[in-house]
């Protein structure tokens, strides 16, 4: 992978100027490359990783992993059915998987009831959905390579040879 992408994937706030200095390139070249990636859809958007457990005054949200068995459609296979499902805003992630089930969804709602209703009233009735299995998430430890806890304290001595 291009090192520019490697750097941005770790820190979306790294400026073109900083990246240029790290890679010994011209700032303008880095800017152009990033623009190109954005245009091509290689870079889709810049996000912030938030540890929601530490956010005060927000109602906690409920998340569930939902396995879905679907009937593939002629010509378009799973894609068309998947599209109908992932277009719901409640679905934050959607993967086609191998194994007993076909799709793996991550669904978010403000409480247990909301998520259950989504499954019962929206997902299950779809004509190509043959079955679902819902697992509610109890605790998040790590997400997208980020361990969700306070920044670690420095354990090195401040000076050494």
């Amino acid at each position: 992978m291009d090192e520019i992408l490697e750097i941005l994937e770790k820190d979306a706030r790294a400026t073109a100027d900083d990246i240029a200095r790290m890679l010994k390139k011209k700032t303008q070249n880095v800017k152009d490359t990033i623009k190109k990636y954005e245009k091509e859809g290689v870079i889709l958007r810049y996000k912030t990783v938030i540890n929601r457990e530490l956010v005060k005054n927000t109602k906690s949200e409920v998340r569930a992993l939902i396995e879905v068995n679907i009937m593939p459609q002629k010509d378009v296979g799973f894609d068309k059915v998947a599209e109908r499902i992932y277009s719901f805003p409640e679905v934050t992630s959607c993967y086609l998987i191998s194994g007993t089930y076909d799709l793996l969804l991550i669904v978010e709602g403000k409480d247990l009831h909301t998520v259950s209703r989504f499954v019962a009233e929206k997902l299950s009735p779809l004509e190509n959905v043959r079955g679902t299995s819902t697992h509610f998430l109890l605790k998040k430890y790590k997400e997208d390579g980020v361990i969700l806890r306070h920044k670690e304290e420095n354990k090195r001595v401040a000076i050494s040879y």
């Binding site: 090192e3 490697e6 750097i7 820190d11 790294a14 900083d18 200095r21 790290m22 890679l23 010994k24 090195r156 001595v157 401040a158 000076i159 050494s160 040879y161």
Partner: protein, 385 residues
Amino acid sequence: MRNIISAKVQNMQPSGIRAFFDLVLGMKEVISLGVGEPDFVTPWQIREAGIYSLEEGFTSYTSNKGLYKLRLSISHYLKNRHGLEYSPEDEILITVGVSEAFDLVLRSIIEPQDKILIPSPNYVSYGALTELAGGEPVYIDTKKDSFKLTPKALEKHIDKKTKALILNYPTNPTGVSYTRRELSELNKVVLKHKLLCVSDEIYEDLTYDFAHTPFPSLPGARENTVYLNGFSKSYAMTGWRVGYACGPKEIISAMTKIHQYTIMCVSITSQMAACEALAGGRASVEEMKREYKRRREFMIGGLNKLGLECANPQGAFYAFASVKKTGFDSLEFAKRLLKEQKVAVVPGTAFGGSYKDYVRISYASSFDNLKEALNRIAVFLKKGR
């Protein structure tokens, strides 16, 4: 009881540096660029192997030379990576870091008044250990040759009493390293005068601009070289204390004699973890190296822009920056920078008395820290002038 401490020990390391170190350790919220170790934590799979070995009850002594399994892994690794052939039976010794290996090799070879050549600026222990072993350190100042030892300078310092040359590349504190061609030229001089070369290559995995050449891989060098390496820098394992020495049977056997009486063996937990480092830790090494390289560009560019010129380091994670233009000497510069801006660097005098115009700046720190440190140094310089 007066004079209970021997003169040799009393004369070790200038006290000014020690006082400065105490000052740093007593302060809080300092951005430290004074650190001689990676800022990464040991990769999890290596830590996990250490934990697992404890669970399995591996808590005993090992063979004096070190776990056979580890020596075998090192032997295979050196063969695959560098084409070096060392027998795990009697040509490899596991030591408590390269530090212990140095002590062992110097004590094994030095007769009273033997001279040991040390290109300087140099890692702090070489001179002290030479003196403790009864030898005489002969420093070869490399400043005028962009901090590189040249065959000419080497030749000039050799006399009848010269026994060995200590090499360390990539170098702590300058980050300078040598190409294969440069090493070949040095080797010719070493061979001509039948010197022993003690080659500390602990930073070899952190070489950025060309492939690292181990000294014993040069033509004819293997039989007069003790090759020292370890896990501290490559695998971010400084606290585990595992290093190794490879060399001719005769020298390794002599070193093992001292080792068995002083250390007995390296901690078994650390040796088990080191086995895992060689078995599956290479991917982490490459990742860390890429990260260091980016920091190097960022830091060197930044320092040069601020007028703190430094030789371009080809390896390790240090910049040896000149503070001459600031009007301060290195200790004064370091003290003031610490007090006024809470940034810690190591005065150049720690690496040789004549480096009053330099400080060692370590870029083994997070990118955010480096950026903030450069800002603070800029503020400091503006005020200082």
